[in-house]
Amino acid sequence: MMTTALWLLLLAPVQETREPHVGYLYPAGGQQGSVVLLFAGGQILNGVKEVAVSGEGVRAKVVRYMGRALKLNGDERKEVIRRLKELKEGGEKKAPTAKLPNHPLLNDLEKLTPMELEFLINEFLKFDGKKQINNQIGETVLIEVTIDANAPPGDRELRLRTPLGMSNPMCFQVGRLPEIREPEPYNIDAAPGAAVDAPVTINGQIRPGDVDRFRIAARAGQQLVIRAQARHLIPFLADAVPGWFQATLALFDSKGKELAYDDDYRFDPDPVLFYKVPETGVVELEIHDSIYRGREDFVYRISVSEEPFVKSLFPLGGREGEETVASIDGWNLSEKRLMLDTRPGGEAVREMTAGPSNRVTYAVDTLPEILEVEPNDTSETAQRIDLPRTVNGRIAKSGDVDVFRFHGKAGDELVAEVLARRLQSPLDSLLRLTDASGRVVAWNDDLERKEGDRRTDMGAITHHADSYLRARLPEDGVYFVHLVDAGSQGGDGYGYRLRLGPARPDFALRVTPATLNVRGGVATPVTVYVLRKDGFDGEIALSLKDAPAGFALQGATIPPGCDRIRVTLTAPQKPPDGPIALRLEGSARSMTRTAVPCEDLMQAFLWRHLVPCRELVVTVLGAGMRPPEVAGSLPVRIPAGETAEVTIRTVARAKLDALQFELDDPPKGVTLQETVPTRDGLKLVLKADAQAQIGSGGNLIVKVLTEMGGQKKDGKPAKPGRRVVVGVLPAIPFRIVERGP
């Protein structure tokens, strides 16, 4: 039993189900130079002790773990109300009329802050027949966030640290504008409150059926930009259809006449209203879910201001290292030009703002750039170009066709790739490659890269509208590339960048999860997704960049052609102080690419998305012992139809038979035949069936299980216990090879 305990210590006793999880923050942001109290709703948050916020200038601490909302009986309810009145009115304390349940808030009624009182009243005392129980956001933590006056505005990642580790990240925004919080109940049925002045950021939550209204003092001539953020804060809800809070915004005059309405901004589900105020007065702003759903994680932030808002820019990028000035269009813009940062070394897709505007996205590439020149709507008027080029153009009106002509040679490979939707352009591109006779050589509507059912390359974008084609030219001659909008839409904002030229094999990496809680010396599985570009099919070596000593990867080679691999990460035996932000890199040929940490989120019960995060945060929960090692020559070569052995060396060698070992999510045709305790540790016998694909490979992840709670009779087990996964062994690289003679 001692040995089993040792293995439990060596492995990762933290099961997936015991990870702290945060489902929402409310409010989900605060103004520079302020101290904000906010609620974090989630699960398995008991014992929460620290709050980590990414970036500079923001600190946060836990005020109180407030547990779950309780359903009080009549007597308890009366007693809480009596004591709250007593506290309000002062005077002599009377004897309690009922014993209250043990709860962090009820145990400390005298010391509750206004936010805690608000929570107590809303969640414990008010009857809400529409309220549903959602365990995943059933626990609440009160947090205090201090934002420095010079803290850079924008999105941060906030995580809670509990004894079981760090939670998933949630979006917390640092804003410039004064902020208010919705004073519930303040909805369509309630009497209107005092009008607030713009600029302001309004924070609120939509409960089932809620319609929230706010009165805004508006001055004649103001050009108001009213921008809601809901989907942006929590991109995907797994257990709701649609799979996010789909907010609608409407603006009314004092007589109730609708002045403006929006339920999304182009393809972004978060609505934006643009309204020029004709006369001074009060307008009412309304927000609700499009189908009147709601719950605690339907959180929103609405900014009402005259801040600039860029609707479009052109061109949508520039050549690396070359000065590029884009023209911009939108509301409240003091400048119509924006100097793009094209300095070498940055990301291929970058973001920036025009002063305090919304963020705009653009691309930087190394190819020579040209502008599209109209008329180029037909093969006869096609714009002649030399390859390779990046063409900056726009589908300027409905029905516009942009045609480009080039000379190609038989056998040449051509890649045509549109970047538009990924750069916030509403263009839904469709590409065709034709020869001189008009015959279609290749065409593509949407490039949708996916791994299983996970969308891997565009984060929160659900419509993969950008086109991509790669074709081998059949003969020497003239070819045409035709670009249109698939929905026959168009306009000045329908910009694009079209890359035309030979293939440039490359890759990008995603790593998930973005938060890891591990024990010292213990292997923890991590999934790496590979986005192979322009036919790149090579092997990729993974490594940790500038990681503290003791962190290591096992199974760190991604075989040729592999799009997804599970590797393991081990942490140093002695835990470092605090969480560590790790950087995972992949190298192939002369290329090195950083893996983007991602949360693997589900949308509406079905689709999964890898949503990029800022940091890969690893928390080491406690000291461990020398980790098990995979011994011998790697990868393990398993002949098709035969077996191969692999040895796991470990210091915990006694009574290994008390543990069970199983392959986790193995590739088809590979099985674990036998586990034999040896002098060094453990021998695993792996088998590949005869049909296994020669040359295929990857990593094998072996789960370690123990049986808990079995009943014993006369010293012998009479009833089997529950099998519990306690962790995994270090990843075992393998290849299927041909059978020997």
Binding site: E16, T17, D239, F605, L606, R723
Partner: protein, 436 residues
């Protein structure tokens, strides 16, 4: 909808008829058709997708992450067949049904999976009819059925997520009863009006006729005459034998109790009455199996209800000599993820799983006490004998005496057959000959 057919659709569908003639015999070209002896189908539609491993394909050896707390399957009255521990009554009826443990179509979306499961076809721009509508076409009015209630009845709410009759049109849509058979009266839509006396209903009709000045001025108009016929039919339903048919108080209380005093239990009893009456296709739309959260709590609550009613239905049909001529088909649009989702937000739920799931068939020519196919050790994938929806549906048609190769009339004039051809993209591994 038809207008939206692409040139490619037309070519695909049009060509397969001709091409099908040249196909080699085997999976795709069925042997010469010999009709079966089934007269009715009771389809227990487990809307939402029931968990296969908690019902008819238990996997206790897969461990807690798969079996959860339901890890003690029970023996049945057929040697070697184990089923879920919450189905003790069905365990006593296992000799009457066969379990298909290798159903598959691979789709995890409710709507699409429902369409595939009930049409045998992948979704496209042409909307095909469901099994019930096809049976209604071949065995309904004008094909020997002379009942007062429509030949395709759904107890109690329409399936709703797709058009059951597809391009066959309104005439073949199911008659959804509405109401609650566990209440007295069972307020069947258009037949039994709750809270309104017969006299008042007749009075309403007379008043309506008095006010119908337009109708009177348009005597002889075919549209109005059609409406009058429909009204007369409706009143015949309301005050004629249909009312007796839907009156469950005519059954003994003891039997009603055995079925269970639940909506599903009394729906099963009602289905048996409809079979006795001769209705060829009855669907019991049994929802509530989309158990993303609180899965095991729901299983503990609902499976005993299902077990009781379905077992009683099989026994009752058998006792009355109806089982041999009645196909009972239990299935949802897919199964559920074998691996329990313990993590937030599911906290012990199961997701959608179309890669491998179970169906149960009994009666009407299906043998009992058999297991068709097998899933792998964890119920994730099919391990033996794939059964695609086309295979199961084709078997039901065959037993019902409907030639799966028969042409399906359609407004496009295309050569469309009852069962999809390979060229339409439907997968098949052959009808269930091993249990027919």
């Amino acid at each position: 909808m038809i207008d939206d057919l692409t040139r490619r659709d037309v070519l695909k569908i049009g060509l397969f008829g001709a091409a099908g003639l040249a196909l080699p015999r085997g999976v795709w070209a069925a042997p010469a058709f010999r009709g079966g002896k089934a007269k009715s189908v009771i389809q227990i539609w487990m809307w939402g997708g029931p968990c296969h491993i908690d019902t008819f394909d238990p996997k206790p050896a897969a461990g807690r992450d798969y079996a959860g707390p339901l890890d003690k399957p029970i023996a049945t009255n057929v040697d070697g067949i184990l089923i879920g521990q919450l189905l003790p009554q069905l365990a006593k009826q296992a000799d009457k049904f066969s379990i298909i443990r290798s159903m598959t179509h691979g789709n995890n979306g409710h709507e699409t999976a429902s369409y595939i499961t009930q049409t045998g076809r992948k979704s496209g721009r042409l909307v095909f009819p469901s099994v019930g509508a096809v049976v209604s076409l071949f065995k309904g009015f004008g094909k020997g059925y002379k009942g007062i209630v429509p030949p395709y009845v759904v107890l109690t709410t329409p399936q709703g997520r797709f058009s059951e009759s597809g391009f066959l049109g309104e005439r073949y849509k199911p008659f959804a009863t509405g109401g609650n058979p566990n209440q007295q009266p069972f307020a069947v839509e258009g037949i039994v009006a709750q809270g309104i006396t017969d006299e008042r209903q007749h009075g309403r009709r007379e008043l309506l006729h008095k006010l119908d000045s337009l109708g009177k001025s348009m005597e002889g108009n075919p549209e109005f005459e059609r409406a009058d016929r429909a009204e007369k039919g409706a009143y015949d339903l309301m005050f004629g034998e249909a009312r007796k048919l839907f009156d469950l108080t005519q059954e003994k209380n003891e039997l009603r109790d055995r079925y269970g005093r639940t909506v599903f239990g009394q729906s099963c009893l009602m289905a048996r009455r409809l079979v006795e009456y001769g209705v060829p296709y009855i669907t019991i739309n049994y929802g509530g199996w989309d158990t993303h959260k609180q899965h095991f709590e729901i299983m503990n609550r609902r499976l005993p209800e299902m077990d009781n009613a379905m077992a009683t239905l099989l026994q009752d049909l058998s006792d009355r000599g109806l089982l041999d001529s009645t196909v009972v088909w239990w299935s949802g649009e897919f199964g559920r993820t074998p691996k329990v989702q313990w993590e937030a937000p599911w906290n012990g739920g199961r997701g959608h799983h179309g890669a491998c799931f179970s169906a149960v068939v009994a009666g009407g020519g299906f043998k009992g006490g058999r297991v068709v196919g097998a899933s792998d050790a964890k119920g994730v994938d099919v391990a033996e004998r794939h059964v695609y929806p086309r295979d199961l549906i084709g078997s039901v048609y065959e037993l019902m005496g409907i030639d799966p190769e028969a042409p399906l009339p359609n407004p496009t004039g295309l050569d469309i057959r009852v069962l999809p051809a390979k060229e339409e993209g439907a997968e098949s591994a052959g009808r269930l000959k091993e249990i027919m």
